[in-house]
Symmetry: C3
């Protein structure tokens, strides 16, 4: 038990440096769900196959996590309390086996135990890992539904306990970074409201920008810290989010959020940004893009005609936002590079999404808030081109007017926000509104007049209301309904197909939904 | 019978205000086909199911139609005479039941009767209406064929009598507005010929423009008036045209024709146009676009990968033509807006049509005059960009040269006009030629020289010959063959699929036509 | 036997004018494989059906071929020696019947014999020709595999002897022109290296350009001459290459190679080019384009959604290269025309290839050198736009940066050149690298600096290394492995499908490879 003590000691010293929220989450992870056994181990692994034998308990020393973050506003994280409470709740003993199933997602549980078991001479078979390792793309489409592919189909089984609340980190999706996008883009908007010629008459104080920017920075830091813990403790869950055809696009969200922070930085901060920071920021975006776009082109399972969905716009927005930042910092070539890459892929994406190929299984049949992402790319492109050319020329106008048309085209479909389950991803759908508002201010600067000014103020108002509404919804879901972070089905699907009878029934259903292939299956089944 | 009298009275006073042609058509509609019964009712409704019972006769008072139109040239409407003749022809009695089937398309027949029947306590089942109300998109593709989807497949049945001539309004399709497009674009061309620098040497008198413009204006007025009557009397038929995947695009035709009229207006008239007129004109185009493009994007049945066909270019041309008009009137922002919207959707459409996705069932296998619509958008875009930028710059050149390449690429496929049944829609395929001719004059203005002048004159000549040829064809079909307005199968398809054996045969045929899916059906049938 | 003598006589006088290599090949063709019979006839035709009868021998006088070419470097054609050797090798007698099967590909063998037979009153049935005449596109996809569609599937049979080496001309594919593209683009690069401001510091001597240009010109002449012989002697084989969905694009290669030669011509030569030469050069490119793009649009079997593959870029590059040449020669309108046509089709192609529609059967699942063709079009477009605008403006930058992104995106996938069978088509994949290097030099001229200069030099180095590596590979395959020109399966597929059992097995395999349609066939087979 020396290892355990060493581990506890190491954690103690680490914990003091972490802010309370992060501490609480980390502590809970370390505690695991084994309170009932009075064992403070986080990677207890019980081979399910020989559960009748004596249970083998193995612990490893956790690496000291070098994360130092400052959480500015802990009120945004109402889970911290409940998480802390949960910590001390005793878990009923009969659920023990079920909870052990989370181990398959834990970072160091599998391999190490096997190594130790092998050392002891008893190789233990781990069956869940078969499920986990080979998860082809088609399984995601088969097992999940909804525009964010996060709802389990009726016929499917998952490999985590369906009826229990999972550990917090497993329920913490990458799409939480959408909040950062929403708030940091608001910081940009209020900066523009305070400095733009067309909105000078509103006398907006720059303090709003400062306040929002601080909140946004704190949020980015907090969400990043928590997600880092997920990377550390549940790498398998992160891996599954990365392979998820919709979720993978949200991996751009933290990077884009930081770019937004840099664009929206209050003038004193913004002045100090060195151009090296820009290169440092854009490098990971470029790498991720090379990866994602390469997958489209290389045409394995992840070919574009299969995975295209509005969240792909996030990568494109990353390009244009990077171009805005770079051009605003006075760079010349880099911004044009990202603008060009963004433009090329935007054209491909725009055409593909508009076509709605029958193979684009992720595109929801009905319009959905996710479609607002359509507005993000052209409005950011308009701002980027304006910064590059230093004037709102015809190129900017074309991009801006496309954004405006798409915006109104979506806005008139009013039965939009009805009948959809709220999710954190919705935050990502507010930043396009903010982006359109910012672009409109640029436009109103170029074309002064009551009409353009009215349009700018209206769009700013709509964006602010949308963000406020989402804030309320988030707080309600967090504090009242306590379901802000439901079990994340998207990462828990089984690699095996459900049994034959179910599969057939399910398949038939799925086919029927895409009208073009219905006839085929009808036809064949008719035989 | 008080209601009937009131109705006849109301019509009498209205009729005096209408020009003779419209009067004749309206009178015939009101008379219906019930002359044999000596009853002047237009919405006699006989429930076919209990035809053995006493027939229930219901009449409603028609709203006084507030249409006041001026038909400039009644010679273009040779149907007026025959329609008037028809009016006094007695209809054989044994056809009575058949003609009553038209009632299901009449505007006020169905609902009101049911209400009155219900008041009387006898609910009457109306079976045809089941056919009419739920008509999914797939039925159009299944039941019709041809590039304009207006030919009934052999296996299908229709809900209107196949062997009789239908009422005139039911045979009057929205694509008749194609004539307006053809003639009004000619007015534009002759205006350009008279005013353009490059064609000054031809000494074209502006009177030709004036004459063509008057004819075009009269045509627009006449066709609009007649189609308004269709809207009033046979709303169900209009509804079905609106849901028809090809026809719906022709709903842009009247709007675009008016824009063309405004562009081609003789200088004294054009000078008086107020910019408010432009906004008034473009508003309905914008609304219709939001509707149509929204359908593409929202991806129900009417997803682009399914409905894309060359007639979609009409909407795009509407944008560019609006931009031309606006820029010519001195507006700055509005024209760029429409240019941007047009450009975005043109790119999507161009790529989609060029790809010829296997799901694009409406695209004819062989080239067809409809493909000339490909030329319309880039040549109008070239003119629009020239007006916006006030010079024929590289942007204009790129659009113009694309149009030129497409034009020649289509023109060299000479076996074009063979083997296709003439239809009124062909008129819509002449205006792209005229558009290319106008763009060439703009180009010749920018690049003076014998070559460009020759090209401009040649293209003007080709366009004039094409319009003249169509005029002859139209007159021949109208006066000699008397089949200018054949029964419009496109609106009469049944909502129910034909019987099983037929369906299978038919399906097999349809599949074979799209080579990519042949193997599937082969495969399955092999079992 | 008078005809034969006359023929031999005619050839004698012709042969003296031809360079040795061409002579050797022509001589071998004339000799045919009938040395064993001691008959110097090239179109001996033995009707296989009545092989037991007396053999009919027919000869025709060959038209005097007006080809006069100068082979600058015969070392590049190691086949000449072996071909010459082969000439004198006796062919075993028992193979005679097999070799006679090549006759079905010979130009004058079939028809003439039939005519003569008919004159003699003995109609002879020729069964192979049924195979040859009707070869639908689907047969190519069904029977072949690989990114260049040149590998026979296991289940297929071919109509030429599989185990023997075929006549040289039958093994000489149109893709050999890829070598010309590779070498002539190197000539352009070294010209730019010698003349460009950004690479002045390297002090590259213009003699390298001159040497490479001479080699390239000689190569173009030699390959053209040999391929002309193929056209003359084996027209059926050329026809089949033309109908091959990938090969057809290589018919642009000789035209593009000549354009490259004109661009890369040493300054004294380049100065003498008359603008008429440009029109003469571009006319056939335009015609071929009208043909190919027309096939896409007309949507028969050769619809784009079916035949799209990276080699389609060759046509687009032809447009941009023509624009570069024309603009460099001082023309104004022509270059913009080709730029516009290229741009329009590039957008269509880029989107289509990126989407990887499930119907694009030719696209290899894994990345392959052929994907480097993606880089060619945007980098040539960047140079073309720079020449047209006379400055490296934002338009050029956008095209150039897209090329750069695609280049790096492909380059980081390092397991590229592994596991692929070398083929001559690879030469075509080096010219995009050279094109990117040339565009980078233009960029470095516009944006002077150590970084851009380094990039330019690096890309030039990479391109040179790639060409050198291919040269070594080509020499090794030619001299050591003696398999530079393997039997060309692509032209020898049978028009008939293999027997039922095989077909089913094969089909099942093919389906499985495209994931989207797997389920269908699974489903049906499950019954």
């Amino acid at each position: 038990m020396e290892i355990i003590h060493h581990h506890n000691l190491a954690m103690k010293t680490e914990e003091e440096k972490l802010p309370p929220l992060i501490q609480a989450i980390a502590a809970r992870e370390i505690a695991g769900f084994d309170n009932a056994n009075n064992l403070h181990l986080h990677d207890l692994k019980i081979s399910i196959l020989d559960a009748n034998e004596e249970q083998k308990q193995v612990s490893i020393s956790m690496p000291s996590s070098p994360i130092e973050v400052h959480v500015g506003s802990s009120t945004l994280y109402p889970m911290s309390d409940s998480a802390a409470k949960f910590h001390s709740q005793p878990i009923p003993n009969n659920n023990k086996l079920k909870y052990q199933r989370f181990d398959s997602f834990k970072t160091w549980s599998g391999k190490l135990e096997r190594q130790i078991s092998n050392l002891r001479g008893k190789p233990c078979e781990i069956h869940e890992n078969d499920d986990i390792e080979n998860l082809p793309l088609d399984r995601f489409f088969d097992a999940l539904e909804g525009p964010e592919l996060d709802t389990l189909r009726a016929s499917e089984e998952i490999i985590l306990p369906e009826n229990e609340k999972w550990p917090f980190l497993l329920r913490f999706p990458i799409s939480t970074f959408g909040i950062c996008l929403g708030v940091s883009s608001q910081a940009i908007m209020w900066k523009a409201l305070a400095t733009s010629d067309s909105t000078k008459f509103l006398h907006v104080t720059p303090e709003i920008n400062l306040a929002l920017w601080l909140v946004a920075a704190a949020l980015v830091a907090a969400v990043s810290a928590v997600y880092s813990l997920k990377v550390i403790f549940y790498f398998e869950a992160v891996r599954r989010e990365y392979f998820h055809p919709v979720r993978v696009n949200f991996f751009f969200a933290p990077l884009v959020a930081v770019v937004f922070l840099a664009i929206g930085a209050p003038p004193p901060v913004a002045g100090k940004l060195h151009s090296a920071a820009w290169y440092a920021l854009m490098a990971p975006i470029l790498c991720l893009e090379v990866k994602i776009y390469g997958q489209w082109m290389s045409g394995g399972q992840r070919r574009l005609s299969k995975v295209a969905n509005p969240s792909n716009h996030l990568a494109v927005v990353g390009n244009f936002a990077g171009a805005v930042l770079g051009a605003a910092m006075g760079l010349k070539e880099g911004p044009v590079f990202f603008f060009a890459v963004g433009l090329a892929h935007y054209v491909v994406l725009f055409v593909t999404l508009y076509q709605r190929l029958p193979t684009n299984e992720t595109l929801p049949k009905e319009l959905h808030p996710v479609f607002f992402l359509f507005v993000a790319a052209p409005s950011t492109a308009a701002v980027a081109w304006t910064e590059i050319r230093d004037s709102f020329d015809h190129g900017s106008r074309i991009a801006y007017f496309i954004a405006l048309f798409l915006y109104f085209s979506l806005a008139v479909r009013v039965n939009f926000f009805r009948g959809f389950r709220f999710s954190l991803a919705w935050w990502a759908y507010t930043f396009p509104m903010t982006g359109a508002a910012v672009a409109t201010m640029k436009y109103a600067d170029a074309v002064p007049g009551a009409g353009t000014r009215l349009l700018a103020v209206t769009l700013c108002g709509v964006a602010t209301v949308a963000v406020a509404a989402l804030l309320v919804a988030t707080v309600v879901h967090a504090c009242v309904l306590k379901d802000l972070f439901p079990n994340d089905m998207a990462i828990a699907i089984s690699g095996k197909r459900p049994k034959m009878t179910r599969k057939w029934r399910h398949r038939y259903r799925r086919r029927s939904s895409s009208s073009s292939s219905t006839t085929d299956s009808d036809y064949c089944q008719g035989n």
